[in-house]
């Protein structure tokens, strides 16, 4: 790769990517796919558990 392109990636792109990842981590947002999957599964579990409990106590 051209030295100029490498320099551009090292000086501009990498710090941006690291900053984005750190910002997501600081906000408690998933970064990896495993974290995303875990967050999704937990969210689905919460919706179903809370919803079914509420429906059981508020029958039609």
């Amino acid at each position: 790769m051209q030295p100029l392109v490498l320099l551009l990636i090292r000086e501009m792109l990498l710090p941006e990517l690291v900053a984005l990842i750190k910002a997501r981590q600081a906000a408690g947002q998933p970064v990896t796919e495993a974290e995303l999957r875990a967050e999704f599964d937990a969210r689905i579990g919460r919706i179903v558990a809370i919803g079914e409990t509420w429906l059981a106590t508020h029958p039609a």
Binding site: L17, F40, R43, I44, V48, I50, G51
Partner: protein, 131 residues
């Protein structure tokens, strides 16, 4: 000035909201990202409906429709993370038809309802293979 900037802000929100983070690169990861985006809004809708019913601003029968939709949508998202689109969209349309407009537009749930409408508009084409 504010009115002129609003469309630009909306476009920026939609454009950035339509893309998974750069760390999510595989097709499976993007599928889960889309499903999680929808589930996030569905969870907020359910919470708003339950809170509204508890506060007395939403009738129990109306809250029940929102909660039944939320549980059903969550189960569909989990079972079909890559193909939830049509099922969830049809269920959402049916749920909204059962709810009088004054409750759909009530401050208790209006924002959450709009958020579900928006997230479905963004991610439905992805889920149904249209984009």
């Amino acid at each position: 000035m504010r009115h002129a900037l609003l469309p630009l802000v909306l476009v920026a929100v939609v454009v950035t909201g339509c893309r998974p983070p750069i760390t999510i690169t595989t097709p499976q990861g993007k599928v889960i990202y889309a499903a999680n985006e929808v589930a996030t809004r569905v969870e907020r809708l359910q919470a708003a409906a339950i809170a509204g019913e508890a506060e007395g601003t939403l009738p129990t029968d109306v809250a029940r429709v929102f909660v039944q939709f939320s549980v059903s949508a969550a189960k569909t998202l989990q079972a079909l993370p890559a193909g939830w689109g049509t099922s969830v969209a049809v269920a959402w349309g049916e749920a909204k038809r059962q709810i009088p407009l004054k409750y759909l537009n009530s401050p208790t749930v209006a924002t959450a309802v709009m958020a579900v409408d928006t997230v479905l508009a963004i991610w439905l084409p992805v889920s149904t293979g249209g984009a």
